[in-house]
Symmetry: C2
């Protein structure tokens, strides 16, 4: 009896056409990450469970896949790429600092699968460990900016806020520390549930009406980054933490301008909170505005996390781009420059008969020696079927070497899309395809 | 208290220097795989356990990582890339056939870790599903050949055998079918335990001395592929399966020659068995002879496996290259063409003071716009420390933009390796580094 060819919900096969696009995107991201001097790193998918636990917050912790191996070890599948990075710093204390790395890899979450939410998905992270400078924060924002622009995105905005300022604001309006997390979560929903929804949730947190109004007035300050920050500087003048938060954001904004990030692509937004527990300073979230697909990347400073593994304070900051959303959007938009390739193959060499297969194989080897991706038809089908296979797969060129062509030193090349067919000298086959190949690239 | 930064035994962090080499290797492999028209595919790391179980043989099955998720589903981490491929064919019945794909991805095995044996390691597989042609077998052998040659390997040999011939040989000498698996396992150890060791194990299998001699005489036939096959053709003339096995290997050898695989890089070897249960036809194993590191890739035809998921017979064949061994060997040998790069970064722009950081950032942005991988020093260290950081990381060029240089429109570029230092026009910075950059590539 057959085994059911079932795939777990929330996980996916990436078939060739989709994989070609994913590899295009990860290739571009790698280029940009390395362009800023971030080095590649890879870590295991499986970690000791205790490495992962207690870092993300209670809600997230429940979503870590965990199991016991046959040796009784408690194992977890990595939930993100940030905590494993922190563990790496602890495991390899001699790494030169600042340590700038990128990692493009899958993570696992025991989620209830739904549209756009997966149990296995890929993250593309850049992080700098060992630098407290706001330049490190600005740099990762700039990396995301460059990456999105190179992928053809234009209408996106990186919202910038600071956990320090959120804490200062909470203090300023008189919230107790244990009210803060629920309040942050409520604020975080502004985009989803609107201002009235947030007011309701804040009331449920035990805030009275005047308090809610004061809070929302503060959070909804908008406009030029300098003006917004100046306003908050005055209001939070009494709070050391608030002043520090304003200073840091001020620096981040200045560095972004020097790095050439366009003013239209970032804004200070105090209502942006980010979910994870480990953030301590500036936080970022990039939202694509056209088409309206929401958050496509996020991150922030987490100065406390790495120290858990190293026993000494180690500042760190980073940003994570979600590969899935980027690929979804590119596929939908057909943004400029994204190749629409169904196959990696450029040429199919057909096989006329068992007597001529040697000639077909030799031709294929010549084409491959010139790096022209070439398939030889496998099987004994009639020529018509072989051409249909090429057409179905979207292979641009088909090469026919029948007994007549072989006898006269010729080759027939057929362009599948235009149905044009030309007879050329067999000796010129590679050069002929190469001349067309350039056009295809 | 700090969390122990422990990594599971048998898993590894790949730090940048090692990752740069791994990415170089996987890049080359991708090039070769696509050159033969194999398309990229990715599948989830987590599969239903029953998809994986019962396919590899009892010994291997014990090494599958399995656990129950919170929904009571039995989950397994993929053990190889072949069974997931078979499942993909079942899940997506409309895929055009033959379906030629490659996958470069980690697999997991609950092994006792030891030197060269890991719990998480990467496989690089090419497979063709839906073709019974021996050309498909020859093609995957040729892919491995091309890949190893492009990576600088010269002294390696692909041993070729056939499960059909092994079965015919077993029948010929009068083995009962249930003796065969233990006999195969004994034969497989020839390289490790020598001829006397194998004789001992075969005796333990219940074979008497004359039987053992007949078997070993058959298996140890060596020499020119045509001669060897002709010999076996005569001996196995009475067995339909034997004759088919000889014919298939005969074809594989002919195709390999047409594809340009050097005679010195393959041989027919009846003592090569391969461990996995699912093989049904030709089998392959490539051994690197210099340095003597043993098996670096293996595979074969598995005409029964895919049908388990599709309910209809589906021939398939493929080969798997072990990334870990390839990288180990390349690192040891410094084979020609392998880059010895410690970092992806070409240039470090130093920061003289907070007053000049804007100039440094602008220079970095210009360099990056020309795809010159550039870091800006993060922090307020003295210039000496900044230069030492570049030196430690192996960054070739350091750029100094102090107040004097800025005032006079100059820049200082220092070559870390040679300690040479030149002052150039600031306006020519990008062109200057680009001219050196070409040399570095």
């Amino acid at each position: 009896m057959a085994v059911q060819a079932q795939i777990l919900k929330g996980t996916r096969d990436f078939l060739p056409e989709r994989m070609i696009l994913r590899q295009y995107v990860t290739g571009k991201l790698r280029d940009v990450f390395e362009n800023f001097g971030f080095e590649p790193l890879d870590t295991p998918a499986i970690e000791y469970a205790e490495v992962l636990e207690g870092k993300y917050g209670d809600e997230a912790d429940k979503l870590i896949y965990k199991f016991e191996d046959r040796g009784g070890r408690r194992i977890g599948l990595r939930y993100d790429l940030t905590v494993p990075l922190a563990r790496v710093i602890g495991t390899h204390p001699d790494l030169a600092r600042p340590f700038k790395r990128y990692q493009i890899a899958p993570v696992w979450r025991a989620e209830k699968p739904q549209k756009g939410r997966y149990r296995e998905f890929w993250q593309c992270d850049v992080d700098t460990v060992g630098s407290a400078s706001s330049l490190a924060d600005a740099e990762v924002v700039c990396v995301a900016y460059d990456a999105l622009r190179r992928l053809g995105f234009r209408h996106f905005k990186t919202k910038i806020n600071s956990r320090k300022m959120l804490a200062a604001i909470a203090e300023y309006i008189g919230l107790s520390p244990d009210q803060a997390p629920a309040v942050y979560r409520a604020i975080d929903k502004l985009d989803k549930i609107g201002i009235d929804g947030v007011k309701e949730e804040l009331a449920e947190c035990g805030l009275n009406s005047p308090l809610i109004s004061r809070l929302l007035d503060l959070l909804q300050v908008r406009g030029d980054a300098d003006v917004v920050l100046a306003q908050l500087r005055t209001k939070l003048a009494d709070s050391a933490m608030g002043a520090q938060g304003v200073d840091e954001l001020d620096e981040v904004v200045r560095y972004l301008r020097w790095l050439g990030v366009s003013e239209s692509n970032f804004e200070v937004d105090f209502s942006m909170v980010r979910g994870l527990d480990y953030y301590t300073g500036p936080i970022f979230e990039t939202v694509v505005e056209e088409p309206k697909i929401g958050s496509i990347c996020g991150g922030g400073r987490y100065d406390g996390l790495v120290g858990l593994f190293t026993n000494r304070p180690t500042p760190a900051t980073g940003i994570s781009l979600g590969l899935e959303r980027i690929v979804d959007v590119l596929e939908e938009l057909h943004l400029g420059g994204v190749p629409e390739m169904k196959t990696v193959t450029y040429a199919l060499v057909t096989v006329f008969s068992q007597d001529t297969v040697g000639e077909s194989l030799r031709a294929a080897s010549e084409l491959r020696a010139a790096d022209i991706h070439t398939e030889v038809f496998l099987g004994k089908d009639k020529l018509g079927n072989q051409l249909r296979y090429a057409s179905r797969k979207g292979i641009p060129f088909t090469i026919i070497l029948g007994p007549d062509e072989i006898a006269t030193g010729k080759a027939i090349v057929k362009n599948i899309a235009t149905e044009e067919q030309v007879t050329i000298e067999r000796a010129e086959l590679v050069d002929w395809v190469l001349s067309k190949h350039e056009v295809l690239k």
